[in-house]
Assembly symmetry: C2
Homo-oligomer: 227 residues x 2
């Protein structure tokens, strides 16, 4: 048996009927026009569904927003890349020469995409059951230690809830300026809570990120006095 | 048999073992704290996966970007609301009094969410097979008349491809101004193609929308002379 097939049996718990699917899932677009991007599309969709199903069952008390946030924390690029590294996807990747030299095998995006493509390959090769089992194995630890709903909320949401809990009106966000050329622009946003006479500033690569920064600063400001 | 169960057999092709799931899927949050939002989360994930799987098989030549765009056109709110209306979801909805009076049963968001929740309910009640069959029935016509990949591309992508096809450099987008208070802000973006000495302006509720407007104007400008 080939080394790669052995790796798949050990770490994906699957023996491929069609080994070319395994090869394809590990092939980055820098190496070939025939690459893992289509499989990634399929694997990503199956992963999102499977995680949704597990969270629905594991968290019967969660509202839809909590479920969405919990899923986002489980399928984001950083988490997927961590899982990919843990099973040694980096050593199995097929990369183009340039990508290989510039350290592509360690890039989070490359690893995350390959992991989703591998899930897609197992799905196509064996059907839903082995792909679902693979996801359960990859996420076993994370399912046991799911983060608290409150910890997953972004600063804008937390600020809003903090204010509502005290009967205060919601903050106002205004874009103060946008500077720099495309792809390097910096948004500056002002967050104001009138009733507290408080005003904070946030900066970021997008309006959304700048607002989150401003909200985080506001939360820090309002809770400074031990409230 | 109850009227609602009969409706489900006719239009969802499913007889519920647990009729409370059907009830829940049709209950808008305006009517009860126990509503269809969690089922919608689940149904949305299964719908996205199933459409991804069908497109993967139906369009073997499509790149990942084409598959993504084709899926987006099939699962967007307007399409889901159309499908929901076609099977009479609007007459089955359980709405709060205010939502009912203000015409909530015809709102696209309400209908789209309920349709996804119904898919989630069939999935929970009967497993993958009946939920997949339901999606195949709902989308039968649309699967037969899938849009061309090129028609699904947004103006920025089409402009980029038009320029690249002629060996021209890519356009530059710059935010010119952001006016108005939050939730009413208008972005003004300038699109420039230096080699053609062309400059267009777009406005929109977000930077992305303003850029798309500017790109559409640029495409119109550049192709005006019969090119």
């Amino acid at each position: 048996m080939k080394a790669r097939a052995r790796w798949a049996e050990t770490h994906l718990h699957h023996r491929f009927d069609d080994p070319s699917l395994l090869e394809l899932a590990l092939t980055h677009r820098s190496a070939s026009k025939l690459n893992n991007e289509r499989l990634e599309f399929l694997g990503d969709a199956f992963l999102n569904f499977t995680i949704a199903k597990r969270l629905y069952a594991l968290r019967p008390e969660d509202a839809e927003g909590d479920l969405s946030r919990a899923r986002a924390s489980l399928v984001n690029q950083a988490t997927l890349a961590d899982i990919a590294r843990a099973i040694g996807v980096d050593s199995e990747l097929v990369l183009g020469r340039g990508e290989l030299r510039s350290g592509g095998a360690q890039r989070a995006a490359v690893l995350a995409d390959a992991l989703e493509a591998l899930i897609g390959a197992v799905l196509l090769d064996g059907g839903n059951a082995p792909a679902e089992k693979l996801i359960d194995e990859l996420y076993a630890e994370r399912f046991r230690h799911l983060p608290e709903s409150a910890d997953l909320k972004d600063p804008k949401t937390r600020l809003q809830e903090w204010l509502q809990g005290r009967g205060l009106t919601l903050p106002a966000y205004t874009v103060d300026s946008v500077r720099g050329r495309e792809h390097e622009q910096v948004f500056t946003v002002v967050c104001e809570v009138e009733q507290k006479d408080a005003r904070t500033i946030g900066r970021g690569r997008s309006r959304r990120l700048a607002e989150q920064e401003a909200a985080a600063a506001m939360l820090a400001e309002l809770t400074r006095d031990g409230e």
